[in-house]
Amino acid sequence: MYINSTVIRMLEETIIAIIVIYMVLRLFVTLDRLERMPYLNVINFSVAAIITIQNPSPLGAVTSMIYFIMATVAANAIAFTIDKIGEIEHDSD
């Protein structure tokens, strides 16, 4: 039973690690700034998932929730700033 449960957790960890590596390489290659934001969102999802999968306790769940909400607020600020910078530089031409 114990070996079976560790094998299950290894499988999920492997899937999430492959997703993270693929997404971060694609984010590094892409040059368009607004195209990068959905890839960053997938990385946030994966990290919030791996926090709870590695630590199955109430503190792990609370850490995952706080991480995901703060990361979403930061992504909101980054997208707003990209839009605002485009406006400012477009007006100055």
């Binding site: 999920e12 997404m23 959905p38 999802f45 909400i69 997208a79 707003f80």
Partner: protein
């Protein structure tokens, strides 16, 4: 092999759950904040659909039913009982209010996910399968190829009577 089948079933269930709730709560209609509109227009410029672009931008910029599904399955797995889904609904509601959103989509997504996991636990699908399934579902929406998925979301939104409202 059984775990791979369970993860696949959980991925399909959470995909259907969060896409249907997000479209029904009107995410493809209008961008909630300014950055979501910019992401949507960028996806439309690269050959996608405007409604699907607003959907994707709203998911990036505020925790909607996708975050509700992920955090409810995380809390169900960590607390070990359906009470975790209720706690996750409370946290997602506060996070939505921080991000300038009314918060209907995230809360209803968390509650429906709790009911869904409680029902599928009788046929042997564990909550950790739902966590990985939600990451796979977010990958298929946000990560693979934006024009095709945004056209698919736009077609579903037009079928569910949630068209894009042009206000600006």
């Amino acid at each position: 092999m059984e775990e791979i089948i369970a993860i696949f079933i959980a991925a399909v269930l959470s995909w259907v759950n969060f896409v249907l709730i997000d479209i029904w709560m009107g995410l493809p209609e209008a961008p909630g904040v300014k950055g979501a509109g910019a992401i949507g227009k960028s996806i439309e410029k690269r050959g996608g659909d405007l409604g699907g672009g607003f959907f994707s931008g709203n998911i990036v910029c505020s925790p909607d039913a996708s975050a509700g599904t992920l955090l409810a399955s995380c809390a169900y797995y960590a607390f070990g009982s359906p009470e975790g889904g209720l706690i996750a609904a409370l946290f997602v509601y506060f996070g939505n209010r921080i991000c300038a959103d009314p918060g209907y989509a995230g809360t209803s997504g968390a509650l429906t996910t709790t009911i869904l996991i409680w029902l599928t636990s009788f046929i042997g699908i564990a909550p950790q399968n739902f966590i990985v399934g939600m990451v796979l579902a977010a990958l298929t929406i946000q990560g693979l190829y934006h024009p095709v998925t945004s056209k698919l979301i736009g077609k579903m939104a037009r079928k569910m009577n949630r068209k894009v409202i042009q206000d600006n």
